[in-house]
């Protein structure tokens, strides 16, 4: 069992081969964790499909599993592994974060209050919002 952390999920996953920089997962787990679905055209999410590079297809696909870490690095997105391969993070890439900010649409988020009740920024749409960060440290 391996922990897989993404931008919005923390999953404990079975049937994983975590081997150095490779993280082999079933297509079902990849789709559930990341939204990327394996199709004949390549890995697809929404309207976008990324063809698997033909010359080194076996670094991405083998025995019905996908090396999602290799795909992530191929896309230029951060991959972090820790705890001797027992925990992995597939992070958001800088381009996506930058594009979101440049659109000037305030990135939405969902965070809990002190009672653990989740609230979204977009829940306040229709009002002017002064968003302020702070910390106890």
């Amino acid at each position: 069992m391996v922990w897989l952390v993404t931008d919005d999920k923390e999953l404990n996953v079975a049937g994983v081969i975590a081997d150095g920089t490779a993280l082999w997962l079933s297509p079902e787990v990849v789709e559930h964790a990341t939204g990327w679905k394996l199709k004949p055209e390549g890995l697809c999410r929404g309207e976008i499909c990324v063809p698997i590079p033909a010359l080194r297809a076996e670094t991405f696909l083998r025995d019905d599993k996908i090396n999602v870490a290799e795909f992530w690095r191929f896309m230029g997105w951060p991959v972090v592994s820790a705890d001797a391969g027992d925990a992995w993070m597939l992070g958001q890439g800088a381009s996506a974060r930058s594009a979101a900010l440049e659109s000037l649409e305030a990135p939405d988020f969902i965070l809990p209050d002190l009672d653990g009740v989740p609230h979204k920024l977009s829940g306040e749409r229709g009002k002017k919002v002064f968003l302020a960060t702070w910390a106890s440290w």
Binding site: W3, A94, L101, G126, K127, V129, F130
Partner: protein, 226 residues
């Protein structure tokens, strides 16, 4: 700190959301309970908002209009670079610095009032070109730093501090400008404040760089009068 402003302006289609960059609600709890805010006061243990908005310090503020558009990108939330003016041995803030800090805060609050009253025609609400020009965008190193920090926080929550430690070091290395990553992963004193000797050393090493940049706003003091 913002409760008075909220009370004053809440009936003018305005609200405040504060986000605590704290690993756990209990660290933030005493401050929130003392302030007794009636606006949303949220806990951001993984620093999502810092990552989404590419922030490096607290307090930082973003102004967002009724359509969910950013009209002022992240900037110090009415804060002034007083920390650099502290006496090195006593850590006290000289009077002139304190007065400048108070003035800076006043200018900032008045600007918020002006925006609430005048909306897009307020000189303090940036148009899309001005706002975009003032955005700070993350690069690959920052994205990697955030991923390391996130996984580190995750491991810490599962009691795996030893596994988390190298990730925090890597996050700091990749994003050296981030005070939020640095202080969240630094040791804290009895009051929970990340003010170790390393912290003060880091402040002293800033040189010409500011801890809080001067807020880009008409009437904002640029420096402490000598």
């Amino acid at each position: 700190m913002w409760q008075a402003l909220y009370e004053e302006l809440k009936d003018q289609n305005f609200t405040i959301i504060t986000v605590a960059m704290d690993s756990e609600a209990d660290a933030a709890r005493p401050y929130i309970e003392a302030a007794a805010p009636t606006y949303l006061s949220l806990i951001d243990r993984d620093h999502h908002v810092a990552e989404l908005y590419n922030m490096v310090n607290v307090p930082q503020a973003v102004w967002i209009d009724e359509q969910g558009q950013i009209v002022r990108p992240p900037e110090p939330a009415g804060a002034f670079d007083t920390i650099r003016a502290r006496d090195k041995s006593t850590r006290e803030v000289p009077k002139a610095a304190e007065e400048t800090r108070i003035k800076a805060r006043q200018v900032y609050l008045d600007a918020i009032r002006d925006w609430v009253r005048n909306g897009a025609s307020s000189p303090h609400a940036f148009d899309q070109f001005e706002a975009r020009a003032r955005l700070s965008l993350p690069d690959d190193n920052i994205a990697a730093a955030q991923a390391n920090f996130r996984l580190g926080q995750f491991l810490l929550r599962r009691g795996k501090a030893d596994a988390a430690a190298p990730l925090f070091l890597e996050a700091r290395r990749l994003h050296p400008k981030s005070w939020t990553i640095w202080r969240q992963t630094d040791e804290t004193n009895d009051l929970g404040l990340a003010v170790s000797a390393d912290f003060w050393g880091r402040i002293d090493a800033l040189g010409e760089t500011k801890f809080y940049d001067v807020i880009d706003m008409d009437g904002m003091p640029a420096e402490i009068p000598s």
